[in-house]
Symmetry: C2
Subunit: 330 residues, 2 copies
Amino acid sequence: MIHYKDKLAKGSWVTYRAEIKVLDCTVRDGGLINDHHFMEGFVKAVYDTCVAAGIDYMELGYKASKKIFAPDQFGLWKFCEEDDLRRIVGDNPTPLKLCAMADAERTDYHTDILPKDQSVLDCIRVAAYIHQLPTALDMIKDAHDKGYETTLNLMSISVVHDNDMAEALEVLAASPVDSLYIVDSFGSLYSEQVRDLTLAFLKAVEGTGKEVGVHAHNNMQLAYANTIEAIILGANRIDATINGMGRGAGNCPMELLLAFLKNPKFHLRPVLECIQNVFLPLQSEMEWGYQLPYLLTGMLNQHPRSAIKIRASDNPDDYVGFYDQVTEKE
Amino acid sequence: MIHYKDKLAKGSWVTYRAEIKVLDCTVRDGGLINDHHFMEGFVKAVYDTCVAAGIDYMELGYKASKKIFAPDQFGLWKFCEEDDLRRIVGDNPTPLKLCAMADAERTDYHTDILPKDQSVLDCIRVAAYIHQLPTALDMIKDAHDKGYETTLNLMSISVVHDNDMAEALEVLAASPVDSLYIVDSFGSLYSEQVRDLTLAFLKAVEGTGKEVGVHAHNNMQLAYANTIEAIILGANRIDATINGMGRGAGNCPMELLLAFLKNPKFHLRPVLECIQNVFLPLQSEMEWGYQLPYLLTGMLNQHPRSAIKIRASDNPDDYVGFYDQVTEKE
């Protein structure tokens, strides 16, 4: 049979790209379901699993402002204080690098992010909407100056206009940020759109040594497929969560991603063990993963908040009512 | 932003291809879960939904041999007798075309498939493994001579060798069959492989007027993504099932497919209504859809029968035990 090999694809099916790094953001994205009220045993189980599975990075939560988020209303992983982190990871004597996310305009980064030599964290991930780019650039500079590896996670990318994106990429390529992430917050991108974005991001960072990353959501059952698409084209920083745990429809499941990647340093079995022992019991307390309402907001390129609300209501399965609601002409 | 438009893609994002035809195989593939013991009300609900949603074809079940399959052990939709069909659809005074599937070597097609003018069926779908091609060709000829539209569904395509595939396509292109289906029985194809296969099938039927179809399974959460991939490249015959119902990990969900297709003749709302009212109550009686064991057989390019068995056992969630079982060296 003729193989119409995609000329844009990096790598082949029987080799692997050692430069691909996997980031587990289970505790950070999953924490959006329960305001980060995870028990320490859960966070430790995810940490141990990441180490055993050969995962490269683990994100433990946010560095959120205590002026904006009242500490008595959120779990510890909303703030990722040094003492709390170290109760889980000690001095982290492992190859696993640790991250926290800081949302633009929702963090007191100047004071709350310690210099790297005082922290067990390795990487600060700056999350921003495109209109927050000036703030994000200052956050990147701050984290970079403090000694951290940095990423910029450009959120809600499916509603960013092409011209704005081109300008943002130009500015970011000139910044000290180490990786630029495509973040499909609404889970509304199709593979062709992921292809366009990945190639545009790769072109923007060409020659800078920066990497391109992808963070997908599963609103239309495409989180894994879109992640693979980005990988094939050359994205080397890949977000996933164990069992796909994450807000709303959840994320690219780590177990699917590791089954796809061929680098022998990755191990699937510890992830299966963690799902079986830790995540299955949680499913009676928390809901995550694809449900029909997420398809509808994804299809309409909307934030999933209305779908999350219906899933938490007394009529979580009133798909028709929800369809009528979201498609109503304004 | 530069758009790296895929030169192989047919169509654009703001138009639609009128030649794309959608086939609902819920009752046929879903019947593999419960030996086709569906109540008539269920089959009628699916039929009414297909009509209301503007779906092009509906597959009601198999034309299976009663010598091989004892009628007292299977539901009516294993055999699709004319009287049973007509109790549901009458004379089918709708634009919806009706199909039944006939498995090579498991059907008494010469006698059990009536001449078209005596049947409410419009299309016979011949399912075959590649080694059954001579039988399949005789079945196609028989159905064609009787006046039916025909398809050839080439099963377990992920284990067919390239040379065998090339020969099969040559023979099939010269046959009277109307459509050739890529059938990912093991749910183990990645999008690049779907791309290769779709383009090879399209090339084989070039100039013959035949169409290429795709039938995907969701073992690795790729049924919908792979279906889209095939559509974009030019596959015009698309299988899906309501709520993804189908054996094991299930199929490409109809609701996702209709959300993707832009032809205004398709309507999503009736499908949502059917899921809400008919499929949700069924979920306590039957299991379908992605579960972790299907990832493992899909990843290993194996038939999902061992995963189906573990899901029906007393330990359906023993992922680690199942992993150890399927990866054991022989």
